[in-house]
Subunit: 128 residues, 2 copies
Amino acid sequence: MSDTADGGPASEEPCRAREVLGMVGDKWSLLIVRHLSEGPRRFTELKRSVEGISQRMLTVTLRGLERDGILTRTVRNVMPPHVSYELTPMGRSLREATAPLLEWSTAHLARIGAARAAYDARPDAPPA
Amino acid sequence: MSDTADGGPASEEPCRAREVLGMVGDKWSLLIVRHLSEGPRRFTELKRSVEGISQRMLTVTLRGLERDGILTRTVRNVMPPHVSYELTPMGRSLREATAPLLEWSTAHLARIGAARAAYDARPDAPPA
DNA sequence: CCGAATCCGAAACGATACTG
DNA sequence: CAGTATCGTTTCGGATTCGG
């Protein structure tokens, strides 16, 4: 399968791929989507499980995904506050669409590291 | 298929997805990979077909992809210079892994636009 | 024709402190 | 608990200029 059932033959106009990458190509979106694929999660749960993300980036990223219709934000106005995030059907379809890429990454990361090492060891390797 | 054959259950350690996105999650990499999936291309051909990319970003992105073993760079030292770029087998497998995401994008972009419009029209929409 | 080098503005990101 | 506000740093990316 070299040219069928893919995202198009690339020869078409300005290409929508950029818009998708502008949405999920950031540092955290796909991580959050992936974690939410296991079920609804609360803010602090995500904060812990994504690990490395700051409060700010978690908030910002969640807002963006909510705006794009990838997930829903449900507020229970009690004390203490309780906010739950959950994938929409579109969010789950996105998760499935990104699965092959995540698979690919785990399968090829070692090879990529080797390629980089080989490249950097070449006589004509770039200085920095 | 809700949970099988995907990139893992998300519960594992710090997650490699970030490294992949650090590689192909930028603005241009996937576009270039997509264009190269049709066969080898020269620098100026890519410059024209990607359209919107600057010389600098084309050079930088191509170098990165070459370093990661996604594509090869072949120089024919003649006048005028002739440099050809071509996907490696790993590059082609990457192209296939990203195909579902590109498919998804073309299928859902309109719906996302609608979701954004609806979100922005909500009474509690963010100011900016 | 194919790039490298430099400069600069814009945007992303992170740490911290504060609020209901 | 679940954010918001502010600040400083880092990175991205475009324009321009120069070299082989």
